[in-house]
């Protein structure tokens, strides 16, 4: 295939990827967008096979085998994964992009002639720079995502792990990394290539272990961004516009999501990266420790009050996802609607473990997306609501964020549930949330606590109706 034609087709693939993201501006156009993305990918693959056909039969066999193995594994995972596990799935996928970037760079390093970047041992200087950046970011993404995956899937404690002198160690490693990149560019020696890989792998682990569970939405967005920059680095090495465009898109997408998540927690990106947040529990909460009385209620009480309300706003949080209570919740909402009660859902940007996670879970439970509202769109409505029904959420409803200047979460935008006539909390206990901060709302007069498993309590309320 003519090289110019191939370049144009790669450009077309890049444009289709842009359109696939554009489609996500509304649920109605999103399915078509996803389809355009698939077409773009098919064009990129076919173009590569046509312009640089595999050299012999064995190479063709490897291509078919690789696509068949990877494709079937991917398809099975996509079909089987429960929606509650999306955060860890996305983290796992990020790690694969990172590792693929490292391996492609390794392939280019050992067979540069196939990538038109020089001969073995004599690779263009510029390509070496691009390659080493791609490898470093890719390796960092790989181990960082593996740690994020382990933390999100609870195979590893979500508590931050703080190593002594970790900042010094990280800076030393970063300097060593730069030195190795310079070494690779000057000498083209394979030892430097692998040193870069190893240092970046270690750095990826060290960067993510001090970050606590509550900051995972930022981490996962940040790794999304890194996987994009790694792809862009390899795109420069290959001179492939589809890869460069995609890398830039994904890189900026992840960066914007990180920004939105940080903003929603009122934390700076730097403080999240430095880590250590969410580990120091009760001690740092600064509460006086005295036991205040909370008003406990039963499921039947809750059912009765809600049936007689005219407007109920439901605030789901991560606890709902853990208890798999979304289906019972939908059932409850359906019964309320039958009674003529207006039901809406309010979602905080950091509810769940990744951006938009609650929306997916509610969609899975057949909640129509036009009943689900974002924080800034619904906050003014709590004052007119009779009941705010908080299920498995805590910190995102804490009035201390607006009222108590000494609170660690002061300034974080929160859902103003306390403005509703009655606030119902479904929680397992009166314990503090991930941020380790006491919620004064539990002890207010118009608050009713329904202690227990979110799913069981909701099912009991449904029965009570």
């Amino acid at each position: 295939m003519n090289a110019n034609l191939a370049a144009v087709l790669y450009l077309v693939a890049g444009v289709l990827f842009i359109l696939s993201l554009r489609g996500l501006s509304s649920p109605a156009s999103s399915r078509q967008g996803n389809f355009l993305g698939m077409i773009g990918m098919a064009i990129a693959i076919v173009t590569t096979l046509a312009s640089h056909p595999p050299a012999d039969g064995i190479a063709w066999l490897l291509v078919v085998l690789g696509v068949a193995i990877g494709g079937s594994v991917g398809a099975v995972i996509a079909r089987r994964v429960p929606m509650t596990s999306m955060p860890e799935l996305v983290a796992a996928f990020h790690s694969l992009v990172g590792m693929a970037a490292v391996l492609v760079a390794a392939g280019a390093f050992y067979a540069p002639e196939a990538f038109d970047i020089g001969k073995p041992g004599d690779i263009h200087t510029q390509s070496l720079v691009e390659m080493s950046l791609g490898v470093a970011i890719g390796a960092l993404t790989f181990t960082g995502s593996v740690i994020a995956f382990l933390k999100l899937s609870a195979r590893m404690s979500g508590a931050p792990i703080i190593l002594p002198a970790r900042h010094l160690v990280n800076i030393a490693l970063a300097i060593a990394l730069v030195a190795c990149i310079v070494g690779l560019v000057l000498t083209g020696n394979a030892i430097y290539f692998w040193l870069i890989t190893i240092i970046a792998l270690v750095l990826g682990v060290l960067m993510i272990i001090p970050i606590g569970g509550a900051d995972m939405p930022v981490v996962i967005s940040m790794l999304n961004s890194y996987s994009g920059w790694a792809a862009a680095g390899i795109g420069f090495t290959l001179g492939n516009s589809a890869l460069i465009i995609t890398g830039a898109l994904v890189g900026s997408s992840g960066a914007i999501l990180s920004y939105i998540m940080c903003h929603a927690m009122n934390r700076s990106f730097i403080s999240v990266i430095l880590g250590g947040f969410g580990g120091e529990t009760a001690a740092a909460a600064g509460g006086s420790g005295e036991q205040k009385p909370a008003k406990l209620g039963s499921a039947d009480d809750a059912a009765f009050i809600m049936k007689n309300a005219s407007k109920v706003i439901i605030v789901p949080g991560y606890g709902m996802a853990v208890a798999q209570a979304q289906h019972a919740l939908r059932e409850m909402a359906d019964l309320l609607k039958k009674e003529g009660v207006e039901v809406k859902y309010a979602i905080h940007p950091v509810a769940g473990r990744m951006p938009g996670h609650m929306n997916v879970l509610l969609a899975e439970a057949n909640v129509p997306y036009d009943e689900v509202f974002e924080l800034e769109d619904i906050n003014s409505e709590f004052a007119q609501a009779d009941i705010a029904f908080v299920i498995g959420a805590n910190d995102v409803t804490n009035p201390a964020a607006e009222e108590d200047k000494t609170s660690p979460i002061y300034g974080m935008p929160v859902l103003q549930v306390w403005k509703a006539g009655t606030v119902m909390f479904i929680k397992r206990s009166l314990a503090s949330g991930y941020a380790g901060i006491d919620n004064p709302l539990f002890y207010r007069d118009n608050t009713m606590m329904l202690l227990g498993d979110a799913k069981k309590v909701t099912e009991n309320i449904v029965k009570g109706m």
Binding site: F17, L21, L24, P27, S30, R31, N34, M41, I45, T48, L49, H52, A55, A59, L62, V63, L65, G66, G70, G71, S72, V73, G74, A75, I77, A78, V90, L96, V97, M99, A100, A101, L103, V104, G107, A111, A114, Q126, N224, I234, N240, A242, L243, I244, I245, T246, G247, A248, L249, V250, L257, I260, M354, P355, G356, N359, A363, N366, Y369, D370
Partner: protein, 105 residues
């Protein structure tokens, strides 16, 4: 006026594409509705696996030097990883998007 005819390094073209694409990405991603942020992450995951083109180049190298075998090996593993991501990413996105429904009136 000889200097006008001087060829521009292809790197500069690539850099231009990259910088412009960052801006396009910035505007496109801000227009994504927050309700679809999870599908956004899974679809960006899938499209960043277009790195598969590099894997295909590495797998397909001719066996001309000692490094070729290594390149094929690395390329083959990269191809599997990228394909897990392509199929997994697009299909799981499709599965999620199929669940978003409007209110039936």
């Amino acid at each position: 006026m000889e200097h006008i005819a001087q060829a521009v390094d292809p790197f500069v073209f690539r850099l231009s594409i990259f910088v412009l694409a960052v801006f396009v990405g910035y505007f496109v991603v801000w227009s994504v509705t927050p309700a679809l942020h999870t599908p956004l992450m899974s679809v960006t995951n899938a499209i960043s696996s277009v790195i598969v083109v590099g894997a295909l180049l590495a797998v397909g190298v001719g066996m001309i030097s000692s490094g070729s075998g290594w390149a094929r090996g690395f390329g083959f593993i990269a191809l599997i990883f990228a394909c897990v991501n392509i199929f997994g990413g697009f299909l799981v996105t499709q599965r999620m998007l199929a669940m978003y429904k409007k209110k039936v009136k």
